[in-house]
């Protein structure tokens, strides 16, 4: 109990409660000093939370096994890097880390809004303070990472520490696992900022563009991190779990996908609001739903309500978490309802052939996908509640529903940006769509002629070609027009174009990355796999590869013992190399893991698994050939880079900002002069 971390948590409870009360009281009494002191209290929470987090890291690094968390998730011989990563390996620690990110972001918001958004800030601070209060409450009372171990003796309980810790789950001992949770959490937690501003906008009735523009960067960053976190999780599953895939519709993956779907919908629909003042209710709802789904995902991961390979041990905090979600949902809904008259649309839909309607259909598809995934994920709970019999649906169901939706969205990725706002004329449709359509159809016809019969994959490749055609066309047209007006080289014009309108062209780069991911996913329609029990010298033939088993090898490190199957790979007679997929046996946790080996090219991955040794001493080797997987990772990188482009202030904005600053300065100088004269 008597530990620095616990004192920090207690202090956060006090300061966060003060921040909420002082903020609201400050608005009510119109007392700026009170609201400012609330902001400072929130900053104090940031510092305290940092202290709590670092003190747990210190305990992990010192291998202080008197603490239950340290004893459960690390051991003496764990490498430094993973000792730090143990912070987010378990429920208690990861919740502490979550709260720290929340308060870190809150601190940044307070620090950067000293002179901006003064009407919104009190409510932003109150919202953030209330959320911090909840998470810290959970961390202090329900899942406290600073609890100490004890043993019952005749004189009551006495402190006790095991010789060594139980060790970090070996599956988590992978470099990606050290960065995947922080990145995913940054996404999850990041949406709290748009949510807080949205609540502030609803509370103050300042429902214009103010809160949207103030949170545009937060939203984009959170979105990019969430997506990157999702794909890093997929990459981890692919290289570490050894079942040959990167996405299994596991409840925890789904939990992170849900807010990604709704936030992607929001990123699109918000443009309609900025342009035309439509969809205001829809947009505040999407921001609220996204945040609630983030919290719900956090809950789902930890509560064990839906059995999953990820789930942390079951803890009794489900009830409190659900109450928090219900309260947040209820309060948000009440605020939206209260402001319904002010959220009235300023415009109407003009035509089906317009950018707006493409965005509306985009939103519809995202939301339907979100609902389907939510339904499938929660089905075990729902079926038990309704039919009294717990049942689950498998990955094939998720694929059946989501593949067509995904293809619809892919088509819209190409169509939307080519349609004009309000209404597209037939002439402009013909001008914009001819070449991309030709590209798409040609790709489809050629692939079909080459013998491709998988309908979904065929459609996906044709649509991908169409979308890439539209993107290339957009860049080309823009660059050509720019050269007519300003001259210069073609690549220079391309760069210039992008810098002048970073949102638009960055968006195209993001779209391009998404297309690459689609191409990679479509490749999975052509996966093949072979499994065989081999003795040294025997081999497996698969898709032109010959994988020859040379023999077993073994050894040990401080952390684990290992065994490997040496494989020599040739393709069409040409030697590619030798690979040694392994089995590790971790000493601290007494757990085995598989270490796959891959030979990756842009054409396909050769994925090699050492599956085990049979009872008659043969070595079971499983080989997967997985076409185009690499495009998924490449696409993810492109999406991330594209998002960075959209975050760069456009040249126009910069020029405008400089002008505003210059005017401000001259006014300041003038007023000073006046003051001096007076």
């Amino acid at each position: 109990m008597h530990h620095l971390g616990n004192f920090a948590l207690m202090a956060i409870l006090v300061f966060a409660a003060y921040a909420v009360l002082a903020s609201l009281l400050g608005v009510w009494k119109k007392n700026a000093r009170l609201t400012e002191s609330a902001e400072r209290a929130l900053l104090a929470c940031t510092a305290l939370s940092t202290t709590a987090c670092f003190s747990l890291v210190a305990l992990l690094l010192r291998s202080d096994f008197r603490f239950e968390y340290v004893a459960s998730y690390s051991n003496r011989d764990l490498p430094f890097f993973y000792k730090v990563a143990s912070l987010w390996a378990g429920n208690d620690g990861s919740l502490l880390f979550w709260a720290w990110l929340l308060l870190l972001f809150s601190g940044i918001v307070v620090a950067t809004n000293r002179r901006k958004n003064r009407e919104l800030m009190p409510y932003v601070v109150a919202t953030l303070g209330a959320i911090a209060l909840f998470f810290t409450y959970m961390n202090f009372w329900v899942c406290n990472p600073f609890e100490q171990l004890g043993v019952m003796t005749g004189e009551g309980p006495q402190p006790w520490a095991p010789e060594d810790g139980r060790g970090l789950n070996p599956l988590l001992q992978h470099p990606i696992m050290a960065i995947h949770p922080p990145i995913l959490y940054t996404g999850y937690v990041g949406f709290v900022i748009p949510f807080a501003f949205c609540i502030a906008a609803l509370a103050t009735g300042r429902l214009g563009a103010e809160w949207i523009t103030s949170t545009r960067r937060w939203t984009l960053v959170a979105w990019a991190f969430l997506g990157t976190g999702l794909l890093l999780g997929g990459r981890w599953a692919y290289v570490e779990l050894g079942w040959g895939g990167y996405w299994a519709w596991d409840p925890v993956e789904n939990a992170a996908l849900l807010p990604w779907l709704t936030s992607t919908a929001y990123l699109h629909s918000v443009m309609i609001q900025e342009r035309k003042g439509m969809l205001k209710v829809w947009n505040v709802s999407l921001v609220i739903i996204t945040y609630l789904l983030c919290v719900f995902g956090t809950f789902l991961t930890r509560s064990g309500v839906v059995s999953s390979v990820h789930a942390f041990a079951e803890s009794d905090f489900a009830k409190i978490f659900l109450i928090f979600i219900a309260l947040a949902a209820g309060a948000s809904a009440a605020l939206v309802f209260h402001r319904l008259p002010a959220l009235k649309s300023e415009n109407e839909l003009d035509s089906m052939m317009s950018r707006e309607s493409a965005f509306l259909f985009n939103n519809l598809l995202f939301l339907v996908a979100c609902f389907a995934v939510l339904w499938g994920t929660m089905y075990p709970v729902l079926s038990e509640a309704i039919q009294g019999e717990k049942a689950t649906v498998g990955p094939p169901w998720f694929n059946d529903v989501n593949v067509p939706l995904g293809l619809g969205l892919l088509a819209l990725t190409g169509i939307g940006p080519l349609l004009a706002w309000r209404k597209s004329s037939l002439d402009s449709l013909r001008r914009n769509f001819t070449w991309p359509l030709v590209m798409g159809v040609l790709t489809g016809v050629i692939l079909a002629a080459l013998g491709m019969r998988q309908a979904y994959a065929l459609i996906c490749f044709a649509l991908s070609a169409f979308v890439i055609g539209t993107i290339v066309q957009e860049f080309h047209k823009g660059a050509k027009a720019r050269r007519v007006h300003r001259g210069g080289s073609y690549p220079g014009a391309l760069l210039d174009l992008t810098l002048v309108n970073t949102r638009r062209y960055g968006g195209y780069v993001v779209h391009f990355g998404i297309v690459l991911i689609f191409i990679g996913v479509a490749g999975s329609a052509f996966d093949t796999e072979k499994k065989a029990d081999l003795v040294a010298g025997q081999s497996i033939d698969i898709r032109g590869y010959q994988v020859k088993f040379l023999g077993l090898d073994e050894g040990r490190t401080k952390n684990y013992e290992w065994m490997s199957a040496k494989l020599e790979v040739t393709k069409n007679g040409k030697l590619i190399g030798t690979f040694a997929p392994q089995k590790h046996f971790y000493l601290a946790s007494q757990q085995p893991t598989s270490e796959v080996r891959r030979h990756a090219t842009f054409q396909e991955d050769l994925y090699m698994v050492f599956a085990g040794v049979t009872d008659d001493d043969k070595t079971t080797v499983q080989i997967f050939v997985k076409p185009l997987v690499r495009w998924v990772w490449l696409g993810a990188i492109v999406v991330f880079l594209g998002t960075i482009v959209t975050l760069v202030p456009a040249k126009r904005e910069l020029r405008l900002a400089r002008k505003v600053e210059a005017v401000k300065q001259s006014l300041l100088v003038e007023s000073k002069k006046k003051y001096e004269v007076a």
Binding site: L149, G150, V151, P157, R166, L349, A372, S594, G612, T614
Partner: protein, 139 residues
């Protein structure tokens, strides 16, 4: 409602209808019921062909790796045992070891054995057993 809105609503309805049809048509094929070993056994012949998920602890020493990745093992749930024969293509999780908590998805065969196409497992930890010896968390 004006014509444009009507068109949009009609379009949305078509999409929703298509998705719901898809969702319903493949729902039953992939549905699996959660059942305990005693429940499954009590169902007798009615359980044949029904996709279920059963959970239990792996009985030590029963894991046998046969040819081509087929693995057999016994699970036990509150004293009731079940022989599982894993025939799925995916490599078995490494966490499937003696005493692990396992979940097998598949169907019950006529001979009373269980043919699984999916197996998940969670290791029983040596640390939890330390608790059983009287270790507690200090208040």
């Amino acid at each position: 409602m004006n014509r444009k809105k009507l068109k949009f609503v009609a379009g949305s309805a078509v999409i929703l209808g298509a998705v719901v049809t898809l969702a319903i048509s493949s729902f039953d094929e992939t549905k699996a019921y959660y059942q305990t070993v005693p429940e499954l056994k009590a169902m007798g012949s009615r359980a044949e062909g029904r996709r279920v998920r059963v959970a239990g602890n792996v009985v030590p020493g029963t894991i046998v790796r046969r040819e081509e990745g087929v693995v057999t093992f016994d699970i036990d749930y509150e004293g009731e045992g079940l022989s599982v024969r894993y025939v799925g293509r995916a490599p078995l999780p490494d966490t499937l070891v003696d005493r692990a908590q396992a979940v097998a998805e598949g169907t019950l065969k006529r001979d009373g054995s269980f043919e699984a196409t999916l197996v998940q497992a969670k290791c029983a930890s040596k640390y939890e057993s330390a608790y059983e010896e009287g270790k507690t968390v200090l208040e």
